[in-house]
């Protein structure tokens, strides 16, 4: 039995997070997003984080599969929360019960496992009940399959058989064990046996007594003998105790997986509610396969900023078409960084199957998302700032595959403009040649200008809009990078401050 709410054919497995998870979380302000998704639920927080960070491994099919489930979740908030709550209740009552702490001996393992199975059987019956009550209002393939599976696997007949087994394992008629003679004629290969159900008429039963057994009775005061007897009994029930305990563990891990996979959709639901409360738009993106250069969006905004400011914020529209690079220039405080974050968060949201913070979003899947941001704190005093930046760039290069996406935010600004531009030019040209997508927020005019002249077809150029009176609209407009002094002034100021 599997939940299969994250993948059509397998469990959600996010043990391996991408190498740059810390940078992503920091640069894209993910803690704000995650807090809104989790609302204090640690499990939702953990699952949402993993889902966001591992989205780059999903294909378009998986993404659409999850989107459908997420739509169901948004449409049936009460049922979703009820299912999620039941998984918590089952797992919590296991955690709080004394059965969880089984002894090591087979008899105590068997006792604990029997009790636990009894409880789980009841929980599974309730789970099936919820599924039955709400099946009609769920449309997604994932939920339909899950509910169908619960109906199919947990029939009344099956649950009755489980109960019968649990009763039989209390061994009212004694424990019957078969054995063979091993080394030194000691018994081995102990196998617990189900006594034949005697369906013969009582008269034949009495007459056809099988060859009699030979009985040994342990003397009353023989404590070692009693111990030896219970040791033999333990050997007999060891395997069945193990089987039952493992089955209980399996049921538990099914419930855990179900809970974890539901948690992702609970997170989606929470975030959706929070953004809806700000009247901030959301949409389910249309994912294109990696390699099909495509980025077209309307009203794209940074949900983290919206959540922090608790209001709807200005969105941007971009149509990069088939171009592999988006170069953003222009005045400081013009919404450039916020745009870059919006692009990154939307990309992660799309790739994990969630809705995006935009009015519409058509994008291409990437094979990996990395950020190269100016780092404020200098961890090691020995290294110069540019040295540190380039070391990080080098580390990034180690991990890049074609169709990865790199977000650069004021990279290579730790030197003068000419040199910074040259480094940027070399890095960006190489990345583009190797089929890597680049989003670059920069003040390096020489670089941006030269790229515009030489590789205009490969790159879209956006400029932070600044009205003649100096007002920033926080809107980006497409256009040639300007050689105006805004950028340069700011750059020099920053550089002077940084130096």
């Amino acid at each position: 039995m599997k939940a299969l709410l994250m993948h059509r054919d397998r469990d959600f497995d996010a043990r391996e997070l991408p190498w740059n998870q810390r940078a992503l979380v920091q640069d894209l302000e993910l803690p704000t997003l995650l807090a809104a998704m989790a609302r204090g639920d640690k499990l939702v927080h953990e699952v949402a984080l993993k889902a966001l960070l591992t989205g780059c491994r999903n294909d378009p099919d998986t993404i659409l599969y999850r989107q459908a489930i997420a739509r169901d979740a948004l449409a049936n908030p009460a049922a979703l929360r009820e299912l999620y709550g039941l998984t918590w209740e089952a797992l919590e009552s296991k955690r709080k019960s004394f059965w969880g702490v089984w002894g090591r001996h087979p008899s105590s393992v068997l006792f604990g496992a029997t009790e636990m199975m009894q409880m789980f059987a009841g929980m599974l019956r309730r789970l099936r009940g919820i599924a039955r009550a709400h099946a009609a209002s769920f449309a997604s393939e994932g939920f339909t399959a899950l509910f169908g599976m619960l109906e199919r696997e947990l029939t009344d007949e099956y649950l009755a058989r489980v109960e019968a087994h649990l009763a039989g394992l209390r061994f009212r008629g004694g424990v019957l064990i078969s054995a063979e003679l091993g080394p030194g004629n000691a018994g081995r290969r102990f196998v617990l046996r189900e006594p034949h159900e005697d369906r013969r008429p009582w008269l034949r039963r009495v007459l056809a007594r099988d060859p009699p057994g030979y009985t040994y009775r342990v003397p009353d005061r023989d404590e070692a003998g009693a111990q030896a007897l219970s040791d033999l009994r333990d050997r007999g029930i060891d395997r069945v105790a193990n089987a039952l305990a493992q089955s209980a563990d399996h049921v538990e891990s099914f419930l855990q997986l179900l809970r974890a996979e539901l948690a992702f959709y609970v997170g989606c639901l929470n975030l959706h509610e929070s953004l809806a409360a700000l009247a901030a738009p959301t949409c389910f993106p249309w994912p294109s396969a990696a390699g099909q250069r495509r980025l077209r969006c309307r009203g794209l905004y940074d949900p983290c900023l919206a959540l922090q400011m608790q209001r709807r914020i200005v969105g941007n529209g971009v149509d990069a078409g088939a171009r592999s690079a988006v170069i953003v220039t222009g005045a400081n405080q013009g919404g450039k960084s916020s745009f870059l974050r919006a692009v990154g968060v939307a990309q992660l949201a799309m790739q994990c199957g969630m809705f995006a913070a935009a009015e519409s979003f058509d994008g291409e899947l990437c094979t990996g998302l990395v950020t190269h941001y100016k780092r404020e704190e200098d961890a090691t005093l020995e290294r110069g700032k540019l040295d540190e930046e380039l070391a990080r760039m080098s580390e990034i290069v180690d991990h890049l595959a074609p169709n990865a996406m790199v977000l650069l935010n004021e990279s290579f600004a730790a030197t003068n403009e000419r040199e910074g531009s040259e480094i940027a030019r070399q890095v960006v040209s190489a990345l583009l040649e190797k089929g890597i997508k680049v989003f670059f927020v920069t003040h390096l005019h020489a670089f941006a200008h030269r790229l515009f002249e030489t590789a205009g077809g490969q790159a879209a150029f956006l400029r932070a809009e600044r009205l003649p009176d100096g007002t920033r609209t926080f809107r980006l407009v497409e256009g040639e990078p300007l050689a105006t002094s805004y950028g340069r002034d700011l750059y020099e100021r920053i550089f002077a401050a940084g130096a």
Binding site: M1, L181, H196, G213, T215, G225, D234, S253
Partner: protein, 543 residues
């Protein structure tokens, strides 16, 4: 069912057996000699085994070598064999032959398999001996017989196909083949096998209730655990924790199990009656000659396993030519085993050395810088001779060695904190004793003699000792800081010098070269460093 052997004939049987080995029951011991000594009965005791190591062992680090060789084989008590050098060329050849046969991988594996089975047999016999319950004891004994017959049969087969060349191994092989073919052995094996099969097929049931246990026949009752597992299979989610209890492996059964076993015997009277009969008939089934082989073959196996370590690191071993007349000994690319063992473990580099004595030469005088490998060279010389006298291959590409009567060593005793006079006196007493014992067929190894006196004294005493050794015509290695001793122009003495790295005179190479001890080594190596040697100048100066 298996054939029944008539039980009443048991006692009379043994008496008949003396003149007819091809009958059931205990067979007489194999008639064959030792695989370590030709005609073992006439070998002098001191060549056979020595509990205590010879005096030279400590100085030559041979104690450590033997410890490493015999490690993991304590049960065979092999060290006494390694302590006892052989006194005849034929005895050396006898072992070299067997050692060469044992170089074949297939034979080594066969011997290892045999040894493993014999070890298993001993464990089973020990279990039988320790068992408190008759029915258990009988079964342990039966298992020991099964392993033993398998061991003998496999060994006979493997030795038969091994293409043996060694006299000792061929003799044993033939005797063993006869044994494995004998009717008595076949009967023993077949009976054991069918009896074990009958016991193995027994299956019974126990019904355990409060305080009692009922033993009865198994009547096809179904597997309860499997049914439970089947019911819950649909929840399976990949690997989970294992709750199987780790029951201790009890060496012996407890009394409840013994009671159960007795009741199983009541259910299966035929099989248990046959087991009791078998036990009575074959109490003593192990052949002492096979036990002896099991130990003696380990001498070869142990040594060759040890050698493999070095060969694996690219270090050569060879079968030395051994002579009891020619003293023109020599070896190529040889090395100190104890040191090499350590270096190989640490992935270090082992430096190999050559030495040769020609014509009347008898004495190596080794000089040169400290820590340059002089003592190592002296040890190597001694180790090679001791190992050769055991019939073992020795370190090196090739070697001609001498079959000595005594290997006498004098190494400086490090820990002695005595006054100078005391130490010199001690040195003299020990040297005197050595010279007293030495014959022309002895080998003497002297390391840093007379280091505790003035130069003039040391020279005087050193020359005197060497003169005596020359007169004795014995082989000798003398390590000394006294270059004057090496400068003797006598034709019996060869000067060996520990070399230094030409590019860096401060670096020891641990190479010992045959060269005059003229003190030029240092100057030459500095010239080398500055590329002003003849060779360099020819290369550097353009024509």
């Amino acid at each position: 069912m298996r054939e029944e052997v008539e039980p009443p004939a048991l006692r009379a049987h043994d008496a008949d057996d003396a003149d007819d080995a091809d009958d059931a029951g205990a067979a007489p011991a194999l008639r064959c000699g030792s695989i370590l000594f030709p005609g073992a009965d006439d070998v002098p005791a001191r060549w056979q085994e020595a509990r205590e190591p010879p005096d030279c062992f400590h100085d030559l680090n041979l104690g450590r070598v033997v410890e490493a060789i015999t490690a993991g084989r304590q049960e065979y008590d092999l060290a006494p064999i390694f302590h006892a050098p052989l006194g005849s060329l034929d005895a050396v050849a006898y072992r070299q032959e067997a050692m060469r046969d044992m170089e074949h991988r297939a034979l080594r594996q066969a011997v290892a398999a045999f040894a493993e089975r014999m070890r298993a047999m001993r464990r089973l016999l020990a279990a039988a001996k320790e068992s408190a319950y008759e029915l258990a004891r009988q079964r342990w004994h039966l298992a020991a017989v099964e392993v033993y017959t398998e061991a003998v049969e496999r060994l006979a087969h493997d030795l038969g196909g091994a293409g043996l060349a060694a006299r000792g191994l061929r003799g044993f092989r033939d005797a063993l083949a006869d044994r494995a073919r004998s009717a008595a052995f076949r009967t023993l094996k077949d009976e054991a096998r069918s009896l074990a099969a009958a016991l193995q097929a027994i299956r019974y049931c126990m019904l355990i209730r409060d305080g009692s246990i009922t033993v009865c026949r198994y009547r096809g009752e179904s597997d309860h655990g499997a049914a439970v597992a089947e019911t819950f299979r649909k929840f399976q989610q990949g690997a989970v924790k294992d709750y199987l209890y780790k029951f201790e492996d009890r060496p012996s059964m407890n009394h409840v199990e013994a009671e159960v076993l007795e009741r199983v015997a009541l259910l299966e009277p035929d099989a248990f009656a046959a087991l009791a009969r078998f036990y009575g008939q074959h109490a003593d089934f192990v052949d002492p000659a096979i036990v002896r082989f099991d130990r003696e073959i380990q001498f070869y196996a142990a040594y060759l396993d040890y050698v493999d370590r070095f060969r694996g690191a690219g270090l050569p071993f060879c079968y030395p030519q051994v002579s009891d007349r020619h003293r023109q000994v020599g070896a190529r690319d040889t090395f100190d085993l104890a040191l090499a063992d350590k270096l190989v473990r640490e992935n270090g580099t082992v430096v190999c050395n050559d030495f040769t004595l020609r014509g009347p030469e008898r004495i190596f005088v080794v000089t040169g810088p400290n820590q340059g490998g002089k003592t190592t060279f002296a040890r190597t010389f001694g180790q090679l001779h001791h190992l050769a006298s055991l019939g073992c291959p020795v370190p090196g590409l090739e070697a001609r060695l001498f079959l000595y009567d005594r290997l006498l060593t004098h190494f400086e005793r490090e820990e002695d904190i005595v006054n100078l006079r005391g130490k010199l006196e001690d040195d003299l007493v020990r040297i005197h004793r050595i010279l007293d014992q030495a014959t022309p067929n002895s080998i003497l190894i002297l390391n840093e003699i007379f280091s505790s006196t003035t130069l003039a004294d040391a020279l005087l005493l050193g020359r005197e000792v060497l003169r005596r050794i020359v007169r004795l015509d014995a082989l000798c290695v003398c390590v000394t800081f006294l270059e004057e001793l090496a400068a003797r122009s006598e034709e019996t003495t060869v000067s060996m010098v520990s070399a230094v790295d030409p590019c860096d005179p401060a670096l020891r190479t641990f190479k010992i070269e045959r060269r005059a001890a003229d003190g030029l080594a240092h100057a030459l190596s500095i010239a080398e460093k500055h590329r002003v040697t003849y060779r360099w100048l020819r290369e550097r100066l353009r024509t």
